[in-house]
């Protein structure tokens, strides 16, 4: 009776070894499938964007980018992200700090609320702002009387973008902050650090990777947002067209190469952020390895 489990275990070991041998084929099939998907759905379209953009040569490409209306779209996109990303960093910090470090009533409601932009269609988000601030909207007349224009103007685009990118920084920071807890900060206080020193030397470094990742995602979305911005912008060429809107407009005007030229900039942005993220991760890993290598002679007691 006692031998039976031992025997079974041996069989199990044998099976798992055979399983390993068999899985070589499975491994290659899985890798091929994943790779094929990446090539067909990610690499090909991306390469195509650049090929199409440069189809008529560099001079045409340059001309398409420096066209006054396109240039205005690029500037507007940069402006919108330059406003909405810092706002979201500020909000993300406040929200994640509150959620991770304090206990208060309505905490779970706040977490749900932060996720709202993920669950609302961007078009609906845009419409909300039109209904609030448009001429027929809730505050429309009051604002119009004071000559404040939000919808079909830059403030509306910023508002819509902030709304859409709302969760990115907070979502990245909350788990990191919760994992870190408050002990390191208390330790800093006992060592004589003031609030600012504690934040700068302890809190920020411990969440920097999460924060950076949040900013990268937030920025990419802020520059690339189409739906919500499309509803509130009014598509005034040279004034309220952001890059994605400009791409659509050029494409609809059968100006494919110019459309792809602007699109290539957005694609480039994606590649740069990806490269930046990889570089930062690599650097961090290198620091860590260097520290380990340097301390090997010390040994462990």
């Amino acid at each position: 009776m006692i031998e039976t489990p031992t025997k079974k275990r041996d069989e199990a070991v044998g099976k798992s070894q055979r399983g390993t041998e068999e899985s070589v084929a499975v491994k290659w099939i899985l890798i091929s499938v994943a790779l094929a998907f990446c090539v067909v759905f990610l690499m090909l379209p991306l390469v195509n964007v650049f090929v199409q953009a440069l189809a008529k040569g560099w001079s045409f490409y340059w001309a398409a980018l420096t066209h006054p209306d396109s240039w205005a779209a690029i500037r507007l996109t940069l402006l919108v992200s330059a406003i909405s990303v810092p706002l979201n960093v500020l909000f993300g910090f406040a929200a994640s700090w509150a959620i991770a470090k304090f206990e208060f009533r309505g905490k779970s409601f706040l977490i749900t609320l932060i996720d709202l932009p993920f669950s609302v269609s961007p078009v609906v988000a845009g419409l909300m702002f039109v209904l609030l601030f448009g001429l027929q909207g809730f505050f429309g007349e009051w604002l119009d009387a004071r000559n404040v224009h939000i919808v079909f103007a830059v403030p509306g685009i910023v508002l819509a973008t902030v709304f859409i990118t709302f969760p990115f920084v907070a979502r990245e920071l909350i788990p990191v902050m919760q994992a870190t807890g408050t002990e390191q900060e208390q330790a800093a206080l006992t060592l004589g650090a003031n609030g600012w020193q504690t934040f700068w030397h302890v809190t920020l470094p411990s969440v920097k990777w999460g924060l950076l990742y949040g900013i990268i995602l937030c920025n990419a979305r802020a520059m690339g947002e189409f739906g919500a911005v499309s509803v509130v912008s009014g598509h005034i060429t040279g004034q309220t067209d952001t890059m994605p809107l400009r791409v659509e407009k050029l494409y609809n005007e059968y100006n494919g190469q110019a459309a792809f030229a602007i699109a290539s900039l957005l694609a480039l942005l994606a590649l740069v952020t990806l490269g930046l993220k990889t570089l930062l991760e690599w650097k961090q890993a290198r620091d860590y390895r260097a520290a380990s290598a340097a301390s090997i002679p010390g040994g462990t007691p």
């Binding site: 390191q184 208390q186 206080l189 004589g192 520290a291 301390s295």
Partner: protein, 367 residues
């Protein structure tokens, strides 16, 4: 006095975590705050540090009232239970942090860090990050970091809680040595009575937010001020004999009494080491059967069963045990070298939560 607490009470909402506690720590002392979890000892430590504010009462550090001083202004060193090392900084930077925020100049700061690294045996580990250190190394870094800005007192929350049993002993020895060398007033929190007895100069015992006793390890062990302390520090046999014909009796055991009413019950306690055992059945007054033996290293714990069915615990050395050729089932004779009357009436002792340090009434040493 290095630290003094006067009538300190701390409430968290309706819950009273610490109730009217007063004690003081002398300059250079190594003091343990001991008690079961939830006893309020960590809250007391955090109030001394300024991480919690007392609801009422005053705290003094080196004669200065610190109630209104923030954590930063109190000049204390605090070591957290899980060390709370800065994960993004290496060992040197962790130790130097307190100096950096206090604007020490670079040369002095480097010198101080080097001094501590050497003192704490951390050479070669300066560039390591906390996650690359062993538990014992982390603790040493945490203490070095706390001591770097030359605090007036060092406070440690369960310093041995986060390391495994094997290196705990090593760390205890190391802490005693460190304290001896540096002579910094040190207060540490522990729930382990053995640890407190072994490491501390004096012990403050808490239970349910109340201070039960302050004393040297020897005092709290040999003269516990109440039953809680007696039971918490070491093992104690507690019995409730009834007084008949002027003698308190339970089974075979008899205790002389003075001025206790007939029919009253007493609570009597005696330590296992007070039980003297012999294989010579005529040597002592009482008879018992040795039921079970527990090997504890140098000492053995034995359980004696009296003819009446009463079971008591005793302690004896390995040599003694061998000399009397004892084994489970042996018949032995024994006597009690000393015992304590814990309360005049069984059940007369107030519940634990109402015990106070100032009521050691009726704790006379008999015999």
């Amino acid at each position: 006095m290095s630290i003094e607490l006067r009538g300190v009470t701390k409430k968290f909402g309706e819950v009273v975590a610490v109730k009217n506690v007063a004690f003081s720590v002398r300059e250079g002392e190594l003091m343990a705050l001991l008690g079961p979890s939830g006893g309020g000892k960590t809250t007391v430590l955090r109030m001394i540090a300024g991480l919690e504010m007392p609801t009422t009462g005053d705290i003094f550090i080196r004669g200065q009232r610190v109630n209104d001083l923030s954590v930063q202004q109190r000049n204390i060193g605090f070591v957290f239970q899980n060390y709370a090392l800065f994960k993004n900084m290496n060992v040197s930077k962790n130790i130097a942090f307190g100096l950096k925020v206090k604007k020490w100049n670079k040369a002095e700061s480097q010198e101080r860090v080097a001094e501590l690294v050497k003192l704490f045996g951390l050479e070669g580990l300066e560039r390591r990050y906390p996650q690359q250190l062993s538990g014992g190394q982390r603790q040493r870094v945490a203490i070095a970091r706390a001591l770097a800005p030359k605090p007036s007192v060092l406070l440690l929350d369960e310093p041995f809680g986060a390391v495994d049993a094997k290196i705990r002993q090593e760390l205890r020895d190391w802490m005693v040595t460190m304290h001896h060398d540096l002579n910094v007033t040190t207060v540490f929190v522990t729930h382990d009575q053995e640890e407190a007895l072994e490491v501390a100069n004096r012990i403050v015992i808490f239970s349910r937010g109340l201070l039960e006793q302050v004393g040297t390890p020897r005092e709290v062990y040999e003269q516990p001020s109440n039953e809680f302390v007696a039971r918490f520090i070491g093992v104690m046999n507690v019995i409730e004999p009834e007084v008949r014909n002027g003698v308190a009796r339970l089974g075979e055991l008899e205790f002389p009494t003075h001025g206790v009413e007939e029919g009253q019950k007493l609570r009597i306690g005696f330590r296992p080491y007070s039980v003297q055992i012999s294989s010579d059945l005529t040597a002592y007054r009482y008879r018992a059967i040795l039921r079970r033996t527990f090997f504890l290293g140098v000492l053995l714990r034995v359980e004696l069963e009296l003819p009446s069915g009463l079971t008591i615990r005793a302690r004896m050395s390995k040599e003694e045990y061998a000399a009397h050729a004892l084994e489970d089932g042996s018949e032995v004779s024994f006597q009690l070298r000393n015992y304590r009357v814990l309360a005049r009436e069984a059940g007369a002792l107030p519940p634990e939560s109402d015990l106070t340090y100032s009521s050691p009434a009726g704790f006379a040493e008999n015999i």
